[in-house]
C-alpha cells in the first residue's frame, strides 16, 4: 500500500511522485486532495491530486520541500511507501462551461492547475494557463501544461524566462483579454492568490481559489482548517478547498498558516544541527 512507483525531481526541491492508491485513482476528481503521513512520526499533510490512473492504480503528487514533513516526503525513494495515505478528500473544483477560462498558478501550484485546466478544456472552454516561477530553473511541467491548456504563458520574478514580474503582473498585463473571461481559477501562495483575487474583483470576473490551510484530520473533525468566506466560518477540508476568491479572508488565512512557524523553525534548526553533528562525526 502507498508505494512510490516513480519519482522525478522537477526542480531542486520539487518532486513528482507516482504513488500506489488504486481506490483513489478510480474516484478522484480535479481539485480534490489526499492526506499523507510520509513516516511513522510524521504529521498529516494535505497534497493536491495532480492526476490519477485507474488502470495503473496510481495517483500523481507534486510536492515542494518547504517544511520538515514535505522534505521528508520528497526524500522518499521509489520502492518505499508512505506510512499513511487517505482520500480523495474535499469537494471537486468547479468545472463548467464558461467560454474563456484563465487558470492562474504560482510556484508548485502550477502542478495543481493541470487537472483543473484539462477538465475545463475537456468540457469545451478555451483555457489559458498563466503560470509563475521565481526563475527559469524553477519552471516545472511546461510540456504537461501545454497538453492540458490551449495556451500557456509564464512569468519569472527575475525575468530569466517569459514575462518579467509576478504572475499577477502577467495577469494584469493582459487585462483586455482576461477581463472577458467567464471564470478564473487561482492556486498558489496566499499573497499571490490574494493579489489575483483583488485584481479580478476589480474586473468583475468570477474567481475561485483553491486554499491551503493547515489541516489535521481532513475529514471535518477538528476545525483547524477553518477559513472565513463571506463572513462565515467554513471548513476547507470538507466544504473546500475551493471557495469564491472574492469572499475569502486571505489575511486571516495567512495569519493562521503562520501559527506554528516559530515552532517549526526551531524544530528544523534542531534537526539540521543533529544532521550536522552526525556528518561531522562521520567526517
Amino acid at each position: 500500500m502507498n508505494r512510490i512507483f516513480h519519482k522525478v525531481m522537477l526542480a531542486p526541491e520539487v518532486a513528482w511522485l507516482e504513488v500506489e492508491a488504486p481506490r483513489i485513482a478510480r474516484r478522484w476528481k480535479p481539485g480534490q486532495f489526499v492526506i499523507i503521513r510520509p513516516t511513522d512520526d510524521s504529521e498529516r499533510i494535505p497534497l493536491t491530486i495532480v492526476d490519477g490512473d485507474a488502470a495503473r492504480g496510481t495517483i500523481l503528487l507534486v510536492v515542494q520541500g518547504v517544511g520538515r514533513t514535505s522534505r521528508l516526503t520528497i526524500s522518499r525513494e521509489p520502492g518505499e511507501a508512505f506510512t499513511d495515505l487517505v482520500g480523495p478528500l474535499g469537494e471537486p473544483a468547479t468545472i463548467g462551461v464558461f467560454g474563456r477560462v484563465v487558470c492562474v498558478g504560482g510556484g508548485v501550484g502550477v502542478a495543481e492547475l493541470l487537472p483543473v485546466a484539462a477538465a475545463l478544456r475537456r468540457v469545451g472552454n478555451h483555457v489559458t494557463a498563466v503560470c509563475g516561477a521565481r526563475s527559469r530553473s524553477q519552471i516545472i511541467l511546461d510540456a504537461e501544461l501545454h497538453a492540458a491548456a490551449d495556451e500557456v504563458c509564464w512569468s519569472t520574478d527575475d525575468g530569466s524566462a517569459g514575462f518579467h514580474g509576478t504572475v499577477v503582473d502577467l495577469l494584469r498585463s493582459r487585462e483586455a483579454e482576461f477581463r472577458r473571461a467567464g471564470m478564473i481559477h487561482v492556486i498558489g501562495p496566499i499573497p499571490m492568490m490574494r493579489a489575483a483575487a483583488e485584481l479580478t474583483r476589480a474586473w468583475g470576473v468570477r474567481t475561485f481559489a483553491s486554499l491551503n490551510p493547515i489541516m489535521v484530520d481532513g475529514t471535518g473533525m477538528c476545525g483547524g482548517c477553518r477559513v472565513t468566506v463571506g463572513g462565515k466560518v467554513r471548513f476547507a477540508c470538507v466544504e473546500g478547498p475551493e471557495f469564491d476568491a472574492h469572499q475569502v479572508d486571505f489575511e486571516e488565512l495567512a495569519r493562521r498558516n503562520s501559527a506554528y512557524r516559530e515552532q517549526e523553525r526551531l524544530a528544523m534548526q534542531n534537526h539540521e544541527c543533529r544532521i550536522g553533528l552526525v556528518l561531522t562525526r562521520q567526517g
Binding site: 512520526d41 514533513t69 480523495p88 478528500l89 489535521v216 475529514t219 471535518g220 473533525m221
Partner: protein, 465 residues
Amino acid sequence: MPQTGPKRTPKAPRQELPLRDPQSRTQGCGEVSLGFTLKQAQMEARRCLDCKDPKCIEACPLHIDIKSFIARMIEGDFEGALERISEQNPFPGVCGRVCQCELYCEKACLLGRKLKPVAVGALERFAADYASQCGNGLHAEPNGRKVALVGSGPASLIAAYDLVRKGYQVTIFEALHELGGVLAYGIPPFRLPREILRQEIDRLRAMGVEFCNNFIVGKTASLDELFEEGYSAVFVGTGAGLPHLMKIPGENLIGVYTANEFLTRLNLMRAYDFPHSGTPVRVGKRTLVVGGGNSAMDAARWARRLGSETTILFRRGRAELRARLEEIDRAEEEGVHFEFLAAPVRLLGDETGAVREMECIRMRLGEPDETGRPSPIPIPGSEYRVPVDTVVAAIGQSPNPTLQRATPQLITNRGKIVIDDRGQTSLPRVFAGGDVVRGGSTVILAMRDGRAAAEAIDRALQEGR
C-alpha cells in the same frame, strides 16, 4: 453446592483506587489511576453480596455477568473472571477505565443503598490488567456473509465482536490512521493507555476481524460500492466528529482550538512529543478551556501537563458540570481552576493574530431549559477581561457529516442519522448507532448501540430482509 472459599465481607470499606500523585502526573502522560493491587482486588471482590437477583447485571448496558466474574475473582481465578466478562465485553481494559459505571452497575448495586457500592469498574479493569489476555474459544463457524462496519470507535468494536462470534466476516473501515475512534483521538493516554486499547483491538484481530484504516466511506468508496463488493449489511458508527464553535468574534485567532483539534493533536498526533513527533500544538502560559464536560476536563488536564496555568470557564454552576465526578476531582488535584457562571463574549488578539485576551460575561441561573438544567442568563454590564494565550472550546459536537453528505438518501435529523426501533436507517441493510445517532454521548452507550445493531443485522440477514 455448598459455599466454600473465602468469606464475603460486605461491610468492609470500599477500596480506594491508588492514584499517581498530582505533582508527578503533570510531568508526563503516564496513566493517573494505577488500578487496584492484587490484595485490594481480592478485598473489594469479597464485598459483593452475591445477590440472588443481581441488579447490577441488568443495569450494565452490556449486561456483563458481574456477579459471576466477581465470584471467580474471590476464588483467585482471574482468567476465569476475564472469560466471564469477555462473554459480553471484549474490552474490559477500556471499559474498566472509561465506563461511567457510577450511572449503571454501581448505581444499581444493592450494597450502595446503605454503604458504598462494590467498585465494579475497578474490578473489571483489574481482571483485564492482571489476567493474561487470552484469545477466546468463542469462535463460530463462518456463515459466509460479510458485514462492513464504518468507523472503529466503541460502537463498531463491540458490533464486530458480536458479529464475528455469530460467524460473520467483519471488516472495520477507519478514516484516520489509527484505530479506536474517540478512544484514540478523544481520550488522553493518561486516562486510557494506548497499549491497552491496542491489545483489546488486537483481540478482535485475532478473532478474524479485518481492519482497514485510511478509508473514508463516502469518499474512498461509497456505501453502494461496499454492497457491490459483497458486504451484506453495513453498520454506520462514525461518531460525533463535527465540533461546535463558540461563534464569537476572534474565534479564528491563533491559539484558539476546538477541543477536537486540541485533543487530536495531543492524543492522536502526540504533539506533546514535538518535535520528535511531527505535529505541534500551541500551549502558552495561560489556558482557558470553555465547557463543562469530559472533553473540557481532558483538555484542561493536558494543558496542565504542558505547564500552562489552566482555568475551566463554565457558564453554569458546579452542580451542572456534565463531566464525571472523578474527572473533575482529578482536574482539581492537578491544579486546574474553575470559573463558574461566566461565558466568553469575544477574543482579542495581538498584531500577529495570536489570542491575548478573552472578554467574559457573568451569568446567573434561570428556569430549566430543554435539557432540564437551569438556563444561564447573562448579567448585563458584568463584562470583564482576562489575559489568555490558549483557548479551547469544549462545547460539544454533532455527527460527522461525511458519509451522510455522500449518501443523500440517508435520512437525518439535524445531522443525526435517523434509525427505527430495529436500529435500521432509511436504507435497507444499513444500520447505525452510537454518537452518529445520539449526538455527543458516552462510550458505553455507543457500545450498547453497537451490540443492538449486531443483533438487528443478524436478524435482518437471517430473515433475508
